[in-house]
């Protein structure tokens, strides 16, 4: 009787997994790092790691569908003569015309307007279409100052000074030449077809003391009418929030590393910045320490996908959230309807992230007029409005179950964490205990 060794399956390295080795081969073949859109794809502690407790003997729930749960939010109450009043605390994050097609920008404006919320310009300036289709439009003031002019500043409803974004805190941008149409080139005062580098630092101020003076200038130019937001990437949320307040912001926008970008190095997206969950409590703490919680509003973004995420962000102390990637998905990004074409591009629906190449089958992240035509801005706007309304209803459902008649009445005490990491970051107890790492309990 002969003995055969038992079969031993081939074992792949956890360190050198298939993706890692493929990336090494890609870098060796091309000599360039991988650039892509979107936010981090790695798994990080997130809202999924939190649960609401709901009502019980000691907490009295509200009756669904009958007892009101308010969702309105007012942004810019600190200094602006004309604060922004939103029906839902879910706003649309900054995304540029250039990165997105004109139809996509129009769809975002239409959807946000139906849902009673704001949308935001991006690096590249304001188009007439997005102004026309957005009842409330936030105008980003970026380091590149592409398309920046005082007329648009005055026709905006709020101004967002962008210092960083979650996908790349400390990074600038690059709109590659293939997406530079005549119109994009004209708006950015640059020749057609060349790569457009967006600086990572503002050209005319450095540091928080200068920023305070810059905000004064913007307020004087706009006669103190407009709320001024400061957007930062998740990095040092306690100090960034405190400095934004000190500099005179009406609103702080804090974007975690799940927040998307139009085009950035993959190594940057995956290795720089904090998860959204890790940003919220330090920022809220800074506001509370300064006596400014609810006086300077906090908008959280980066990986918000559902009403549950909205409710969790608000329970941790945010006043509102912003969505970018989720809004693009709602209007049609990465839709399996285009699977055949995603396959031709070497990818699949759900994984397509070469937004910088301008070949988006869904017609969203492109300047190709034929591809852009595929997106009907009216129908896509409706989809976004539906999605925003569903998220709002979901958040209300949870808030009512927790006995809250306004989403802002949600609080950390309504939450528990499923993991130690989430417990430490969100500073809510591990489920079934009263223990928060670093805070004691049992």
């Amino acid at each position: 009787m002969s003995y055969q060794n038992p079969y031993t399956p081939p074992r792949k390295s956890a360190t050198f997994d298939d993706y890692t080795m493929a990336e090494i081969r890609r870098a060796a073949a091309t000599g360039i790092y991988d650039i892509r859109g979107g936010g981090t794809k790695r798994k990080v502690p997130h809202f999924d790691d939190l649960l609401f407790l709901g009502a019980s003997i000691s907490r009295y729930p509200l009756e669904g569908y009958r007892e009101k749960c308010d969702t309105s939010v007012v942004l810019g109450t600190r200094f602006a003569k004309k604060p922004i009043v939103l029906k839902t605390p879910i706003t649309i994050a900054g995304m540029s015309f250039g990165a997105l097609s004109g139809n996509a920008k129009e769809a975002l404006g239409r959807g946000a307007t139906i849902a009673g919320t704001s949308t935001t310009t991006g690096d590249g300036g304001m188009t007439d279409e997005e102004r026309g289709h957005s009842e409330m439009l936030v105008y980003q003031y970026l380091p590149s100052r592409y398309g920046m002019n005082p007329k648009d500043l005055r026709r905006a409803d709020a101004i967002e000074i962008v210092i960083g974004q979650g996908a790349k805190p400390g990074g600038g941008g690059m709109l590659l030449g293939q997406k530079i149409s005549d119109r994009v080139a004209h708006m950015r005062n640059l020749p057609k077809g060349i790569d457009q580098r967006s600086a990572c630092r503002h050209p005319d101020w450095t540091g928080p003391d200068d920023l305070e003076i810059k905000i004064l200038e913007l307020r004087e130019i706009t006669d103190w009418q407009k709320p001024i937001y400061i957007k930062v990437g998740g990095s040092r949320p306690y100090y960034d929030t405190a400095l934004a307040v000190k500099a005179g912001a009406d609103v702080v926008v804090l974007d975690g590393m799940q927040g998307g970008t139009a085009a950035t190095q993959d190594v940057f997206i995956e290795n720089v910045g904090l998860p959204t969950l890790a940003c919220i409590r330090p920022a809220v703490q800074a506001l509370q320490d300064l006596g400014m919680h609810r006086k300077v509003q906090l908008i959280i973004s980066g990986g918000v996908r559902s009403g549950a995420d909205v409710a969790k962000a608000l329970a941790l102390g945010a006043d509102a959230v912003a969505i970018g990637t989720a809004a693009l998905v709602a209007i049609g990004d990465n839709d399996p309807h285009w699977e055949e074409e995603y396959q031709k591009l070497g990818t699949t629906a759900g994984a397509y992230d070469d937004w910088h190449e301008g070949k988006d089958p869904a017609g969203i992240t492109t300047q190709d007029p034929e591809l852009a035509k595929r997106l009907d801005p009216v129908a896509a706007g409706r989809r976004l409005a539906n999605y925003l309304k569903v998220m709002t209803l979901e958040a209300q459902t949870i808030a009512r179950a927790c006995g809250k008649n306004h989403l802002h009445n949600l609080e950390p005490e309504d939450l528990v964490a499923l993991t130690l990491e989430a417990s430490a970051m969100a500073q809510v107890p591990l489920a079934g205990t009263s223990w928060i790492p670093g805070k004691g309990g049992f």
Partner: protein
């Protein structure tokens, strides 16, 4: 002529008056006294007003000027005439850093020196500096003209796009992708016009050298990585 004494009048009143001119008014001349380094003096002008500022100003004087004529009889702090759209701004003294930053049009004349990053990210503005300019000037300059009668500091025109630079004196060093270029007759004519617009009679275009983009960094190439 309306006079605003910033020693006794809030800045808000000055800027508000500049933004709310009655339609068709010919009362478009303003005088500002005792600015004493105030920031944001005469910002956001959107009408063809004339503003004379007697004294030195802080940050962002004449910021985003669109059509006004602003003269500072003194020196200016950082970011003077930043993002100017049109009009004229004249600084009789020196200007601090970021003078004319991201300017899209109009003319900025600095009769003294300008510090670092003069004309940073310029997008169409014309800047004429009668003295010297500091380092990293015209960084990422996209379009417009920077004329310097004196010397330029280190890394002039770093990562420049299509802005045109003319320097009469020495250039300490050129930034990435910025090179000296041939001064063609059309450039001499252009420069002569700029000097005339700035009211400068004692400089001849032939005394200047022209600098601009080598255009090697316009589309990313890994073999140029050392330049970034």
């Amino acid at each position: 002529m309306r006079v605003f004494d910033l020693a006794t009048t809030p800045l808000r009143e000055l800027n508000s008056a500049l933004h709310t001119l009655a339609p068709g008014t010919n009362d478009t001349n303003f005088e500002v006294v005792n600015p004493r380094g105030s920031h944001s003096v005469a910002v956001g002008i959107d009408q063809p007003v004339v503003v004379e500022v007697h004294g030195s100003v802080g940050y962002y004087c004449a910021g985003m000027n669109d059509g006004g004529t602003v003269t500072v009889h003194g020196s200016a702090g950082p970011g003077v005439a930043e993002n100017m759209m049109s009009g004229t701004v004249v600084i009789e003294g020196d200007a601090s850093q970021y003078a004319g930053a991201t300017g899209r049009g109009g003319l900025l004349v600095i009769k003294g020196n300008a510090a670092s990053r003069c004309g940073i990210s310029m997008k169409g503005i014309d800047i004429v500096v009668q003295g010297n300019i500091g380092h990293m000037s015209a960084f990422m300059g996209q379009s417009g003209h920077l004329v310097v009668l004196g010397n330029a500091g280190e890394a002039l025109g770093d990562s420049i796009y299509e802005a045109k630079l003319f320097v009469r004196g020495e250039v300490k060093s050129l930034g990435a992708d910025c090179i000296e270029k041939e001064m063609k007759p059309k450039h001499l004519k252009l420069l002569a016009d700029l000097l005339e617009k700035a009211g400068i009679a004692d400089a001849r275009p032939e005394e200047f050298k022209r600098y601009g983009s080598a255009r090697k960094l316009y589309n990313f190439n890994i073999d140029n990585a050392e330049a970034y």
